[in-house]
Amino acid sequence: MNYECFNKEILCYLPDRVIEPIRMIDYSILNNIEEIRLRVNRPPMVNISGKDFILTQKGLCLPHDYENYIVDNIIIISSSDMRRCFDKVSKSSAFVFAEDINKGFITLEGGHRVGISGKVVTNNGIVKQLKEISGLNFRIAREIIGCSENCINEIIRNSIDIYNTLIVSPPQCGKTTLLRDITRVISSGYKKIEFEGVKVGLIDERGEIAACINGVPQNNIGLRTDVLDCCPKAIGMLMLLRSMSPRVIITDELGDKHDIDAILQIHNAGVRIIATVHGYDLEELKTKPYIKDIIASNVFERVLILDTGFKRGVLKSVIKTMEELIG
C-alpha cells in the first residue's frame, strides 16, 4: 500500500490528534502496520509485524518504556475523540451500518476492518445495539499478489481441477491475504503449472477478500470470480451454487452448523471448496464442534496449516492423506 492509499483509506478516519504522530513514522515502518488500536482514556497503540507499540507525540515507544515517558508527549484518547472517530468511520450513518456494528465491525474502502467494542444491548440473546463505543481497532488489509505461490501446488489437482482445501490459521497469520491470492490464481489460471483457471464463486461475508465498493471488487480476485458481498456464508454458498454454476466456491472462516451443512451440499453437488478456519493445528480442530464433523466427513482432501510466526501466510504443514486427516 502506498502512502496516498494509507492516507485515503486509514489516516483520514483517525482522530486529528493521532494523524500527525502517525505521519511522522517512517514509511518503511508504516507499511508494516497491521493494527491501530484506540481505547478511551488510554494511549493509541500500533501493531507492527505482530509487536505492539504505543503512539506518542514524538513517535513510537514500547509498552514497558511507557511509564518513563515524558508526560507532555503522551496522547490519551478521549471520549470525544472516540465519538468523532466512530462518526468518521460510519460516515455519520451508524443506522446504515447497524447490522455490521452489531456484528462488531465496519469494513472500510480497501477491505480494512474496524473492530468496535463498547456497551452491548441485547434482546433475547440477539445484539440489538452496540453503544458507548470505548474501543476501535483498525485492522489493515494488504493485498499481496503472489503470496500463494508456495502453497498453490498443494491445491491444484490437474490443469482444470483443484482439491477441496481447508486452510487452518489463528487470527492475524495472513489467511485472508492468502485466500485472496488463491482466489486470484484459481480464477485466472497459473501458467507456471499449466493450470487453466476455473469459474470461482466467492462469498465475502465481511467484505475483506474482494473489498467491494458499490459491488465492484477493489482487490484482484481473478478474471472468473463472481462475488457475493457481505452475504452470510451458508446462504451465499447455496445461492452461488444455484445461480452462477461455479466450479469452485471459496469462503472465509467457517464456524457454525449452517456453514458445515452448506459445505456438505456443495460437496454433494460436485463443486470444489476452499475455506479457512481459525485454529493452530489439526488436533485443535478435532475438538471444535461442527469443524470436527466436517473433517470426519472426508470432504477436504488437503489441509494447509499456516505458521504462527511473525511472517504472514507462511505454510507450516500440509495434510494430504485421509489417514493423516482422520488420525
Partner: protein, 172 residues
C-alpha cells in the same frame, strides 16, 4: 399642487408596499414550513428504505424540493461527505448560515436546530423517531403560520393602504 399629489401617491404606495411585504412574509413562512415538511418526509423515507449513507440522503432530498430549502440539504450533504466535522455540527452550521434567506420565525429555526441534535449518532429507530418528531413540530408551526396569515395577512395589506391614506390626509 402636482408635487402634493405626487408626494401623496408615493406615500400611499410606500405604506401599501410595507403592508404587502409583511403579508408576503407571512405567506412565505407558510410556504417555507411546507417545503421543510415535504423535505423531511422525503428524508425520512430515504433513511427508512434506501439504506444510503447520510450525505447521499441529504443530497437526494435536495433534488426533490424547492431551491430555497434545497440549499440547506445540498450543502449539508456535501460537507458531511467531506467528513471533517460531525453531521450534527454541519447541519447546525448550515442552518445558521442560511436561515436568513427564509421567512421563518425563531421557533421554526429552533426546530431546525433540534433536527441536528441526533443526526448521525443514532440507530435507525432513533433517527426515524427524531425526524417524525420534527415533522410533527413543523406541522404545528404550519397550522399556526396559516392561522396567522389568514388572520393578519389581509389586515396588513389593508392597514398599509389605510395608514398611507391617513398619513396623506394628516400631512396635506
Amino acid at each position: 399642487m402636482i408635487l402634493k399629489i405626487l408626494g401623496s401617491v408615493l406615500v400611499i404606495i410606500a405604506s401599501s408596499a410595507v403592508g404587502y411585504y409583511i403579508s408576503f412574509t407571512k405567506r412565505k413562512r407558510v410556504a417555507d414550513i411546507e417545503d421543510f415538511i415535504s423535505a423531511f418526509i422525503f428524508f425520512r423515507n430515504e433513511v427508512e428504505y434506501s439504506s444510503q449513507i447520510l450525505s447521499k440522503v441529504f443530497k437526494q432530498t435536495s433534488k426533490v424540493i424547492s431551491k430555497r430549502v434545497a440549499i440547506f440539504f445540498n450543502e449539508t450533504g456535501v460537507l458531511i461527505e467531506e467528513n471533517k466535522i460531525s453531521a450534527s455540527d454541519t447541519w447546525k452550521m448550515i442552518v445558521k448560515k442560511n436561515h436568513e434567506r427564509l421567512y421563518l420565525d425563531n421557533t421554526d429555526i429552533d426546530i431546525l436546530y433540534e433536527f441536528g441534535e441526533k443526526l448521525g449518532v443514532s440507530y435507525i429507530e432513533g433517527h426515524l423517531s427524531n425526524i417524525t418528531l420534527i415533522i410533527e413540530k413543523l406541522k404545528i408551526q404550519l397550522e399556526r403560520a396559516k392561522a396567522e396569515y389568514n388572520r393578519n395577512g389581509k389586515m396588513f395589506r389593508i392597514l398599509g393602504i389605510i395608514s398611507g391614506i391617513t398619513l396623506v390626509i394628516v400631512l396635506v
